[in-house]
């Protein structure tokens, strides 16, 4: 079973990568001037209070010791306690992560559902008016900063036309998110916009590339109607690379979630990360980065595995 070996080898690599990420992030956080105490205790804190805080949190120990403590706790499943929120980091992540997953998955799904047919049709109608229009729209989406695009969405669809709420669903549980689907519309649309642009451009060039291939000429020569050439031959061949791309887009989507959650006040990982960064809440920041780096590594691994399931050739090439 070469696929099993391959997966195990990639998993081992993934563990190493995540370990290196934690070391680098740990070093970077702790080399910030001043440390977290000032951010947590406020500008009025006395030097004594700061020293007490540092001692209580173990921040006066050597860096290597601090890291060893953190990683030791991590291996026992303990991510520490938040400095500013009265909760453990793992409980915070457990509460926030599913919400962010819902947001990013819906955005990615919407992005693909729009981008794949759009790119395919653009390629089929290359250099016609509809192609130029779609290109113009995707370029606008691509080059507009996400927060600006989100603001425009709020102004248009929430303020000018009072159709949709400007605030994402609130509440602690995942069920509460789905209880108010109208409130999800704007965040998901905003999150999907850059993905439509990226995937759409990619799909268009990939489909154009495939339309020029010999097998398309063969399909024409046996009398296959053009629509069927698109749907049966070109679609699958040009969408397969998107799967890999989707896996590698995970950090980008998390970056998008950071902006979208902030903008729509959506209580997910992005907002948690944002607030933790504002208040120098090191344990929460480290926990979030750990989750994001695991998701990134897992994303590229899953993409490669999915690719090998879809494309029969990769199986042979690897074994």
């Amino acid at each position: 079973m070469p696929l099993v070996w391959y997966t195990l080898r990639r998993l081992a690599q993934a563990v190493v990568v995540v370990f290196i990420v934690t070391v680098v992030v740990f070093l970077m956080l702790h080399s910030l001037p001043g440390g977290p105490a000032r951010g947590i205790l406020g500008a009025e804190a006395t030097p004594q209070q700061i020293a007490d805080f540092n001692h209580a949190q173990g921040l006066d120990k050597p860096l290597t010791t601090q890291y060893a403590i953190w990683i030791g706790q991590l291996l026992r499943g303990d991510l520490g306690r938040s400095y500013s929120l009265n909760a453990t980091v793992s409980s915070l992540i457990a509460e926030r992560l599913p919400k962010t997953l819902v947001l990013t998955l819906l955005s990615a799904l919407l992005g693909l559902v729009v981008a794949v047919p759009l790119g395919l049709l653009q390629a089929a109608r290359r250099n016609r008016l509809s192609d130029y229009l779609a290109t113009a729209v995707t370029f606008v989406l691509f080059s507009t900063p996400l927060f600006f695009f989100g603001l425009v969405m709020i102004i248009v669809f929430s303020q000018t036309l009072p159709w949709l709420p400007a605030q994402a669903p609130q509440g602690q549980t995942l069920a509460s998110v789905f209880a108010d689907p109208a409130a999800l519309v704007l965040p998901v649309l905003t999150g999907a916009a850059p993905l439509v642009a990226v995937f759409g451009r990619y799909m268009r060039s990939s489909a154009l590339d495939n339309l020029a291939r010999d097998y398309v000429r063969t399909a024409r020569a046996k009398g296959t109607p053009f629509r069927r050439i698109l749907s049966r031959h070109v679609l699958r061949n040009s969408a397969t690379p998107l799967i890999t791309m989707l896996g590698y887009q995970i950090p980008v989507m998390f970056g998008g979630a950071l902006v979208v959650e902030q903008l729509f006040n959506y209580p997910g990982m992005g907002l948690l990360f944002w607030n933790a960064a504002q208040s120098s809440d090191f344990p929460v920041l480290l926990g979030c980065i750990l989750v994001i780096s695991i998701a990134t590594v897992a994303g590229s691994l899953l993409a490669d595995l999915a690719h090998s399931l879809i494309d029969p050739r990769t199986k042979a090439a690897r074994s």
Binding site: Y215, T218, K222, G223, R236, R313
Partner: protein
């Protein structure tokens, strides 16, 4: 689109006064024409010519398959239907039904992500109201018909799981799925080995004979023409210069262009010939490969690209490496060049053990080796000028040549290129000119060994001869040893002193040309020779009959 009443003797393809022009950014370019052709049912017409003669354009125009920037005038009647001016909607029912297509590259002609059985079934369902199950069953029948063993299992295979010959059979199965009146085959065997080529040509011949379909076969290979064609049309510069029966055109050509073309075709020698004088056989070999193994991977899954391969080449001598694709001939060339470290065995270059050398000594040793590769397009950097291309080895090995600028000009004379090409990009040159630039670059340091990997395979025959002449001339002047890799046995017979016949990474035969390529001992080399079609229809018929008898006797 008008459908004329069927007559008893109507050509399946009737091309009258057809011209094709291509719209490009710099205005319209005349491609082809005017061309007249006709093919009767059951007849095989070969359309021959060199690259750029317009032969493929005519073939694709016959079913309206030209790219969008082409415009066609004149009349093309395909089994009673006018093709010129017809819309896509009118043409689609003809494609794959009235006319079936076979293409040059079986490696890319099939959808890589679709099972081959489904691709054949699609050809059926495009034209008939068949259920998926019925069309799949019919696809398996067709695979059987085109000679694919175990068709039920193979129909579930993806294209990459089949050999090149089997893929081409799949393409043929699609082409004949709806019993076409005309089969159009564009260089159907160019990408295949000779033994596979012989099988595919036999299949096309049998299909035409059994079904009564007309066949339009486009090829540059006169041996293929002699093997399959009833009639021949020779194209040159977009026009048909000569049409006639295969005997007339190949044996008694009337047109001067046809005569020149046929004269340039290297002929396979079947009688022991005047052997080239054995040169300096006593001198120490320039290169000596002994007991070379090259393995990829390890354990039971390892691929043995070379096993126990040995060859020596002396100064002034030419040794040919021949064999079918995958036989290891290019791998052997890479070992000789020092680009590939063998798993076992020794490489002695100019008397030194090259496998042990490292660093500067290795680099110095390499400066005595020149190389010419197959692809004239990708083996030269198109961002450099021709002068920079030729001078590059002298820049790498600085100090070897006193006056590089003068040397470049001498080399140009040696390969018979005008000085005016120096400042141009390789992209502006023809394929033959580019190969001469490659040769000039290879000779720039005055090598003691030249490795040429299929140097003329991508060239037209008329150009091939001039490149071979230049190689022979510079070799007799400079005295380098030449390792010549080729799949073309006639060319190898012509220019080599000794030959290594390879198969599955092993040496099958090693000896003089007469020993290896005229009267070989091994069954493999004999089969290889028998499969080469000769450009003489009468002789080729005789060879085919003899080959069939041999095959029967072997059974």
């Amino acid at each position: 689109m008008t459908r004329e009443p069927a007559s008893t003797h109507r050509p399946v393809l009737d091309v009258r006064g057809v011209s094709v022009t291509f719209a490009t950014e710099s205005g319209s370019v005349h491609g082809v024409g005017p061309v007249d052709l006709s093919i009767d049912p059951g007849e095989v017409l070969a359309l021959v010519g060199e690259s750029g003669s317009g032969k493929s354009t005519v073939a694709f125009a016959s079913a309206g398959l030209l790219p969008g920037n082409a415009s066609v005038s004149g009349s093309i009647v395909l089994d009673g239907t006018q093709v010129v001016g017809a819309t896509e909607r009118e043409l689609r029912p003809l494609r794959g039904s009235t006319a079936g297509f076979v293409f040059q590259e079986p490696a890319t002609a099939l959808n890589p992500l679709m099972r081959v059985g489904d691709q054949i079934a699609e050809a059926i369902r495009n034209h008939a109201d068949a259920s998926p199950a019925a069309s799949r069953a019919r696809a398996i029948e067709l695979m059987q018909r085109v000679g694919i063993p175990d068709p039920a299992r193979r129909s579930r295979a993806f294209p990459f799981e089949l050999s090149g010959g089997q893929r081409q059979r799949v393409v043929i199965a699609m082409a004949i799925a709806n019993r076409p009146a005309l089969l159009i085959a564009d260089e159907p065997t160019t990408a295949l080995d000779v033994t596979v080529q012989a099988e595919i040509l036999e299949l096309i011949r049998a299909l035409a004979r059994d079904s009564g379909a007309g066949v339009l076969i486009v090829t540059h290979n006169m041996g293929v023409v002699a093997d399959v064609a009833d009639r021949v049309a020779v194209m040159h510069d977009g026009r048909v210069v000569e049409t006639g029966t295969v005997e007339e055109v190949l044996l008694r050509p009337a047109d001067p262009y046809t005569r020149g073309l046929l004269a340039a075709v290297p002929r396979l020698r079947t009688e022991p010939g005047a052997r080239r004088p054995a040169r300096s056989a006593a001198s120490t070999p320039v290169i000596e490969l002994a007991g070379i193994d090259v393995r990829y991977g390890r354990g039971a899954a390892a691929v043995r690209a070379l096993s126990g391969f040995s060859v020596t080449v002396s100064a002034g001598e030419t040794v040919g490496l021949v064999g079918e694709s995958g036989s290891g001939k290019s791998t052997a060339a890479r070992v000789a060049l020092g680009l590939l470290r063998p798993t076992a065995g020794t490489v002695r270059l100019f008397g030194t053990d090259a496998t042990r050398l490292r660093g500067r000594a290795r680099t110095a040793l390499r400066s005595d080796i020149g190389v010419v590769l197959q692809d004239p397009v990708s083996s030269l950097d198109s961002r450099l000028t021709v002068e920079q291309c030729i001078a590059e080895p002298m820049r790498v090995h600085r100090g070897r040549v006193a006056d590089p600028r003068r040397r470049v000009r001498e080399l140009l004379d040696a390969v018979r290129l005008p000085q005016t090409v120096l400042s141009r990009s390789p992209l502006e040159l023809s394929g033959g000119q580019r190969q001469r630039v490659s040769l000039a670059r290879a000779l720039s340091l005055g090598p003691r060994l030249l490795v040429a990997d299929e140097p003329t395979s991508a060239l037209d025959v008329s150009v091939q001869q001039s490149v071979l002449d230049i190689i022979a001339e510079t070799q007799s002047r400079l005295g380098y040893a030449l390792l010549f890799v080729s799949h073309d046995l006639a060319v190898v017979q012509q220019i080599c002193d000794r030959v290594v016949v390879m198969r599955h990474g092993r040496v099958e035969e090693f000896g003089t040309v007469d020993e290896t390529l005229v009267s070989p001992r091994s069954a493999y080399a004999q089969a290889l020779l028998r499969a080469v079609p000769v450009p003489d229809p009468i002789a080729q018929r005789e060879r085919r009959r003899a080959a069939a008898e041999q095959a029967d006797a072997a059974r």
